[in-house]
């Protein structure tokens, strides 16, 4: 087991170093291409750098999220960070209970010009007409909470938290009430996530 942890940590450190090298390499390539007057090469290298930086930001956010949530551990295989340049940054994490199919998932769609429009819609009460939906507060933030009842009778919740040009979607499945859902969402490092995706 110890060997497995050591290997995983080594792999993580190797990936981080590789990413750091990649950003520095891309910036160096961009500078050289610009000095040579090759604007398209410069542009491509800079776009690639943004992608690499997004990946670094995504990993920082994953590191900032709690190791367990509502006594559920992280489902490591589901950790995901992807970026499509200025189309946005997508980060996801899942916490799952091994003994049943209860789970909590966090999805963050960040730094996307499209999300600003969604956020504006979410902040308008006129769009909240469904009786299973309500607006709730998480500290100083407004969020949209939706309750769904599955065919097996187990409730699930979706909480959408707009933060500038970032949207956080907090989904839960299990026997939880509204207070538990909002308290769990409120325990997330929302300020840090917003700052990192701004």
């Amino acid at each position: 087991m110890k060997i497995l942890y050591t290997t995983l940590i080594s792999l993580g450190l190797f990936a981080a170093t590789l990413s750091a090298q990649e950003v520095s390499k891309q910036l160096h390539e961009a500078g050289s291409a610009y000095d040579a007057g090759n604007l398209q090469e410069t542009r491509m290298a800079l776009q690639q750098t943004i992608h690499e930086l997004d990946m670094a930001i995504g990993n920082e956010i994953l590191k900032a999220l709690p190791a367990t949530l509502h006594n559920m551990p992280i489902d490591q295989e589901k950790d995901n960070v992807s970026s499509a340049g200025d189309l946005g940054l997508f980060i996801s994490r899942r916490y799952a209970a091994p003994e049943n199919d209860h789970y909590i998932s966090i999805e963050i769609i960040g730094d996307s010009p499209m999300i600003s429009g969604v956020n504006a819609l979410l902040s308008l009460p006129v769009f909240v007409g469904d009786r299973n939906q309500k607006r709730v507060r998480l500290g100083s933030r407004r969020a949209l909470l939706q309750q769904n009842e599955g065919q097996d009778g187990i409730h699930s919740w979706d909480l959408q938290v707009p933060m500038g040009s970032t949207l956080l979607i907090f989904s839960l499945r299990g026997d939880m009430d509204e207070n538990t859902v909002t308290n769990l969402a409120g325990s997330l490092p929302l300020d840090q996530i917003e700052r990192l995706t701004r």
């Binding site: 610009y34 000095d35 604007l39 398209q40 410069t42 800079l46 943004i50 010009p113």
Partner: protein, 259 residues
């Protein structure tokens, strides 16, 4: 003696009358002067005062209106690409990823402005009888993204002729449009008699016409670029295409390196 007394009394009365008339005439003159002064004041003086008051009130209102009446706008300012790349590297070293990303975006914006300017330099400054309007040249970008780099130039002709050239590059939307195009999914229909597929400088293109927008030529090229030309108040398709042919798609492709 009686006559002497009568004459004396008459003289006194006459002199008193004369004094009275003189006094009356002075009074009347004074009244006249005062009246004239009053009238002059009434007509000019008070109005001037009112004008001054009105003007000062108007000025005060203008000052309070919040409406801008002066200003030369912003000076054109392009980011320093080398500096932004260096700043990005320094921020990344300190693990300030947000600052690094901001600097990279600045650098990217600077590079895209330069690319846009090169494309604008390659476009004709006059097309047929239309001259370009330098102040309306436009380069805008959201970085690599949904909209991409947009380059625009506008031409004005005699009377009401207008031509707007727009080049879009490196856009996700245009990439999808190009895919749609290259897969042969564009279908001509008799429902749309004002739109047809043509070949424009060895490239597939669509020309359309509407009474509101005039003629529009759309030429998708490369992986994610498009050339759009909109002509307003052109007499017919031939006149519009003659103007369109003064643009070189190959030049634009070469500068954008999107072939």
């Amino acid at each position: 003696m009686k006559i002497l007394i009568k004459t004396g009394v008459l003289l006194i009365i006459l002199s008193m009358l004369s004094l009275s008339l003189h006094a009356q005439s002075r009074l009347i003159r004074r009244l006249q002067q005062e009246t004239e002064k009053k009238i002059v004041n009434e007509i000019f003086g008070e109005d001037e005062k009112k004008d001054e008051k009105g003007r000062s009130q108007h000025d005060s209102n203008d000052r309070m209106s919040g409406q801008n009446r002066r200003g030369a706008g912003l000076e054109a300012d392009a980011p320093d690409v080398r500096r932004s790349i260096a700043d990005a590297g320094a921020a990344y070293e300190t693990k300030d990823f947000i600052a690094a990303k901001r600097s990279v975006r600045n650098a990217l914006w600077g590079v895209e402005i330069e690319i846009g300017q090169k494309v604008l330099e390659s476009l004709p400054t006059s097309v047929s009888d239309l001259e370009y309007e330098k102040s309306r040249d436009e380069v805008s970008s959201m970085g690599a993204g949904f909209v991409g780099l947009i380059i625009g130039r506008q031409y004005q002709g005699k009377e009401d002729l207008q031509l707007q050239a727009t080049i879009g590059n490196d856009s996700a939307i245009l990439g999808l449009a190009g895919l749609f195009w290259h897969e042969g999914m564009f279908v001509q229909s008799t429902d749309q008699p004002n739109q047809k597929e043509i070949r424009f400088q060895e490239t597939r293109a669509v020309i359309s016409y509407t009474d509101d927008d005039g003629y529009t030529l759309s030429v998708p090229f490369g992986q994610s670029s498009v050339f759009l030309l909109n002509g307003i108040n052109f007499e017919n398709e031939n006149q519009f295409m003659s103007a369109a042919n003064q643009f070189s798609i190959n030049n634009i492709k070469n500068i954008l390196e999107d072939k």
